[in-house]
Every structure is written in structure tokens, then in C-alpha cells.
């Protein structure tokens, strides 16, 4: 399959042409940074090391060896609740599509990283705050299902404000749906690494983000179940500075590693490598050695 247009463009020109001449201000230290410089520095502030939220295309471009074989891109959100508040939901979607150049809050597909073929999902906060609606749930589910069929490891970058209100309970149920897919993937021997980026909260945090074999987080990312504001309103006191940061969670034992972005890819390659070629006995949960849905090749024979 040919390399997607956006990947070719990002490779040629890390910052989209229409934004290239702009300067941007670091929200942490206030430094003005020339955007191509920022892109070249993996979207990390050269002054204070603040990690900017990354566009899914930039993230993928930074990670994959060559091509990226997108799946689920044809799945587009409907308006199941007929939602309107200030503007109708379809208008919000159209606006976000325009602004973000994304069709939904996650980009899924197959690629290789450091020579390791894998299934990769990257969420993007630019599209409806990375909230999980039916399309995000469906794309993630399809990715795990196909990774399971192909016997590939799965890496998911999360960035999400939680379940998408505008799709109501259909959004919440994506927590259940993705969980089912992750569980089957795992029970058939699948290896899953999640990378929690800023911010990862609510329904995404409380489902596939914390169901991985290895849970990583980007430095200083905000991670939690309840939003910071909700907690402050509930307990009526100020929260400590580092509350719900990746570093806080590491100390509290919730995550495996916190990584600065400049070592993320190399670390990921090493972690993927540990999962290769292990002598994995069949889990057997599904009875007489037959996986419940369809067969996958044993780990040893994987690419």
C-alpha cells in the first residue's frame, strides 16, 4: 500500500506549510520558539523541556520506520443522539476536522518501529479533546482484532479527555468494547504497550490505557480518572502541584516508566524487542488449545 499523503508531507516538511512561518510561545516558560525548530526538537521546548501535545501525524512520523498502513480511516462519526448545544454536534466535528486535518480522535494502522512490525494507535487531543466516541472505540477495537489475527504487538498512545459527551452512552460503552478486544488480544498471547501522553483521563484512562502489559507515560503528562477541577470542587482545597502527573503516578506505583520524549522511541524499540521470540505457552483459557475466534500463528513464527 502506498505511503499516505500526510506521512510523505510530514517527512518532507515536518511542519505543515501553512503554519511554517509561525512562531509559537511555550505555555510553560513563555519562550518564543520558531515552529520548524520546535518540530525538529520533537515538539519539546528547547528552554524548559516542556512537552508540547503532538499531532498524531507528527507522532507517527517521528516513530515509524517508513510506511504507515492506516486502518479504520473510512469510519466517520455519525450523530446518534442528534446532539446540539451551542452548535450541532456535526458542526463541531466538521470544525475539528478542518482544524486538525484528522477524521477522528485516533489514527490507527500497521507499521514498523526499529524493525519491529506492530499495530499502532495514536490519539490526538486536537480532535474533540481526544474524547472517545464510537469511532475511536471502533478503530481501537479493529486494531486489536487485526493485531490479534496477525500476531503483532500493539502500541497505543493515549491522549484523551475521556468519553465523548455528545455520543452519550454509546461513547461510554466503547470502554467495554475496547476492553473486550484488549482482553482477547492478551489471552491469545498478544503483547500490548500503552504510552500515556498529556492528558489521559476518564474513560480512556479507565479502560485500555491501564490494561497494557507495560504502561509508559511521557514526562509531566497529566494522568488520572477524575479531572483536576472536579476533584478540587469535591474536596474544596487546592491540590498539590505534582498531583496526577506522570511522575506522581510513578511514585504511586501505577505506571512502569516515565520517559522524556527524546528517549521514547529508543526505549519503545527495546521494549518491543523483549517481547519477540519468547517461548509463550498457550493460555488455554478458551479450552482445548483453540483460540475463541480464529487462529493466530504462534509467537515463534512471527515476523
Amino acid at each position: 500500500m502506498p505511503m499516505p499523503e500526510w506521512l510523505r508531507l510530514r517527512r518532507a516538511q515536518p511542519v505543515p506549510v501553512e503554519d511554517a512561518a509561525q512562531w509559537t510561545k511555550c505555555p510553560k516558560c513563555g519562550t518564543m520558539i520558531y515552529r520548524p525548530d520546535l518540530a525538529a526538537n520533537l515538539w519539546v521546548c528547547p528552554t524548559c523541556a516542556h512537552h508540547f501535545r503532538m499531532h498524531a501525524f507528527d507522532r507517527i512520523s517521528m516513530l515509524v520506520d517508513a510506511d504507515f498502513n492506516e486502518i479504520g480511516g473510512e469510519l466517520l462519526p455519525g450523530d446518534p443522539l442528534g446532539w446540539t448545544d451551542k452548535v450541532p454536534y456535526p458542526q463541531k466535528l466538521a470544525r475539528d476536522r478542518e482544524k486538525s486535518k484528522l477524521t477522528e480522535g485516533v489514527v490507527c494502522g500497521f507499521a514498523s518501529i526499529g524493525g519491529h512490525p506492530l499495530a499502532l494507535a495514536v490519539m490526538d487531543f486536537n480532535f474533540r479533546g481526544g474524547t472517545m466516541g464510537t469511532v475511536v472505540g471502533e478503530r481501537i477495537t479493529q486494531l486489536f482484532e487485526r493485531a490479534r489475527e496477525r500476531g503483532l504487538p500493539c502500541v497505543v498512545f493515549t491522549a484523551s479527555g475521556g468519553a465523548r459527551m455528545e455520543e452519550g452512552m454509546l461513547a461510554l460503552m466503547q470502554m467495554a468494547k475496547t476492553t473486550m478486544a484488549v482482553r482477547r488480544f492478551h489471552d491469545d498471547g498478544g503483547y500490548y504497550i500503552s504510552v500515556l501522553t498529556d492528558p489521559t483521563t476518564g474513560g480512556v484512562s479507565a479502560s485500555f490505557a491501564f490494561q497494557a502489559d507495560v504502561v509508559l507515560a511521557e514526562a509531566r503528562a497529566a494522568i488520572g480518572f477524575a479531572g483536576r477541577r472536579v476533584i478540587e470542587q469535591t474536596i474544596r482545597q487546592k491540590l498539590p502541584e505534582n498531583f496526577q502527573t506522570a511522575e506522581f503516578l510513578l511514585e504511586k506505583g501505577a505506571i512502569d516508566m516515565v520517559l522524556e520524549r527524546n528517549v521514547l522511541k529508543d526505549t519503545l524499540v527495546r521494549l518491543l524487542d523483549y517481547g519477540v521470540g519468547g517461548k509463550r505457552p498457550a493460555n488455554g483459557r478458551n479450552g482445548a488449545a483453540v483460540p475463541a475466534v480464529d487462529a493466530i500463528p504462534p509467537a515463534e513464527s512471527r515476523a
Binding site: M173, F208, F210, I231, Q244, G287
Partner: protein, 316 residues
């Protein structure tokens, strides 16, 4: 302020009037039949007016009615219950009550969220908002059920998971995620009943099930109306508006295929006939188990997978 409680006040006064008149009629020779009939007709009319076509927000208030049967009432109505405590690691979370039980003689694991009735109990139960230890208790009980081959029956009633500092410190997200993960492939039948509020992930963590029942006036929502209003408009006071938009009523949920069965409530709500309502719920649970238990374990889980797989899928 609960809008249902407010609207009930007139009805309760009318009820008292009717009772008084009936007593008078019994003691005095005067015929008051006509008056009583008139009042009863009026009563029925007001009842129809209040309860005949309830708005989503009224449903939310009904689901939160202070007299509505709570988790522990369902547990108490089982034939037998032996509570099992704790997550084995940190604490026994009183917001969730679970253990061995019998339902119509059938051995089960029963788990309920319990909001508590009076103030002291509400505090003890943390208003039904579970901490990570509560969800880890669920996980443990589901593993026990899986090991012994016992069906799991849950009763859901929570405004949401506890949003306190301690819960975040002890990884609330992980706890909910792992409860879901355990239910996802449990080798035994799972039946969940939404008996009050089904608030967000904190409710779903007990409601990933083969058969999901809901009481007619219960609600089940992606976020509490207050929470959704705060998220959407930064204004929790717009909860009524959010309730309307969220499609959280039992009818909506049945249409969307998110619940499998709606249990009717008596006019005026479950608390007007608590024992009857509870019996109807338990009866529906029992029937669901009758249907699920004969299904072989692998097929049961394949069906469960397919059931949730369909929700919000591209081509349903």
C-alpha cells in the same frame, strides 16, 4: 432539592386527606362516597400528570429518590447472603457490598453498590461512590465466581466513582480498567441490574454483563448530568439541560441496545412498592440466569464479545 420529592408533596397531602375521609366515613353515618371518589379521581389525575410522562431530568430525580430501594435492599431480599470483605491489599470499601448468595435456591456471587439510607450510613458507604479498593473487591469476587463456576449478579447504583485524592493516588483508573478486564472474559454468566443511578465508568465497572436489566425510571449515563454540564459548559447548574440531551432514560438505552430489558415500576416509582419492585427485578435476574447458565462457557463469552462489539460499530 429533588424535583420528584417536591412534586410528591401534594400527592402525599391528598393521600392523607383521603385516608382521613375514609376513617370519618367508617365512624359516621354520613355518606362521603362521592367526596372520596372525587378526591381519588383528582389523585389519579395528579399522579398521571406527574408520572405519566416524566422528563429525563425527572427520571434522574426519581433514580435518586431518597426512598428508592438501594443496593442493600436487593441484597437483603436474596434467600441467603454471606458477605465477603476487602480487596486483600488495602481496605474494605463499604460503597460496594458483595459475597456469596442464593437467589431462588441458586448459588451466586452478588455484588451491589450501596448509597446508604440515613446520613450516618451514607457517610459510611461514601454515598455509593467506590474507591479503587471497591473495584478491586469486585475483581476478586468475579475471580472467585469464575473459579467456583458461580454466576455473578450485580446491582448498580452510583453517581460515579469516588473522585477523591486518595482514590487518584491509589489508581482509580487502573482499578476500573481491571474490573472491566476481569468481567470481559469471566467464564460464568453475568447479569447486571441498573436499579438507581448508573453513573459513568464507575457504574460500567459492575455492568459489563451478558444481560443488563434496568428499572424503568433508572438512568444510565456517560457522566452524571451535573458532571456533563460542567464538562460541556463549565456550569453544573445546567444539569437538567444535560440530562435531556444525554439520552439516559431506560427507553433510550433499550433503543440503542445498551440495555437488554426494562423492568416496569409501579406508578409513582419503585419506592411506592419497594418489595414488589425488588421481587420483579430478582425475578428477571433469575429468568436471565435460566437462559444463560446452559450456554457453554466458550459460547457465552463469544456472545458477550459480540454483544458489546456491536455497540457503535461501523455497520451494525
Amino acid at each position: 432539592m429533588n424535583v420528584i420529592v417536591e412534586r410528591e408533596k401534594g400527592l402525599i397531602q391528598l393521600e392523607q386527606r383521603i385516608d382521613e375521609l375514609k376513617e370519618q366515613a367508617a365512624q359516621q353515618p354520613v355518606d362521603m362516597t362521592a367526596e372520596i371518589r372525587a378526591l381519588e379521581a383528582k389523585y389519579a389525575e395528579i399522579q398521571r400528570e406527574i408520572f405519566g410522562r416524566m422528563t429525563p431530568w425527572q427520571r434522574v430525580n426519581m433514580a435518586r429518590h431518597p426512598k428508592r430501594p438501594i443496593g442493600s435492599d436487593y441484597i437483603a431480599a436474596l434467600d441467603q447472603f454471606d458477605e465477603l470483605h476487602g480487596d486483600r491489599h488495602f481496605r474494605d470499601d463499604h460503597a460496594i457490598v458483595g459475597g456469596f448468595a442464593k437467589l431462588n435456591g441458586r448459588r451466586i456471587i452478588a455484588i451491589a453498590q450501596d448509597k446508604g439510607r440515613d446520613t450516618k450510613e451514607k457517610v459510611y458507604r461514601n454515598f455509593g461512590m467506590a474507591s479503587p479498593e471497591g473495584y478491586r473487591k469486585v475483581l476478586r469476587l468475579v475471580q472467585l465466581a469464575d473459579h467456583l463456576g458461580l454466576p455473578v449478579v450485580t446491582f448498580v447504583d452510583t453517581s460515579g466513582a469516588d473522585p477523591g485524592i486518595g482514590s487518584e493516588e491509589r489508581a482509580q483508573s487502573e482499578a476500573i480498567a481491571q474490573s472491566l478486564y476481569e468481567l470481559a472474559d469471566a467464564r460464568v454468566p453475568l447479569v447486571a441490574s441498573i436499579v438507581g443511578e448508573g453513573g459513568s465508568g464507575g457504574a460500567l465497572a459492575l455492568a459489563l454483563a451478558d444481560h443488563v436489566l434496568i428499572l424503568q425510571h433508572s438512568v444510565y449515563s456517560v457522566a452524571s448530568p451535573e458532571g456533563a454540564a460542567a464538562i460541556l459548559w463549565g456550569d453544573a447548574a445546567r444539569a437538567e439541560e444535560a440530562a435531556t440531551r444525554l439520552k439516559l432514560t431506560s427507553d433510550d438505552l433499550l433503543t440503542f441496545g445498551i440495555v437488554d430489558e426494562v423492568i416496569p415500576e409501579p406508578i409513582g416509582g419503585a419506592h411506592r412498592d419497594a418489595a414488589g419492585t425488588i421481587a420483579r427485578v430478582l425475578d428477571a435476574v433469575d429468568r436471565a440466569l435460566d437462559a444463560l447458565i446452559p450456554i457453554p462457557s466458550v459460547e457465552l463469552r463469544d456472545r458477550r464479545y459480540a454483544k458489546f462489539r456491536r455497540i457503535g460499530a461501523a455497520s451494525p
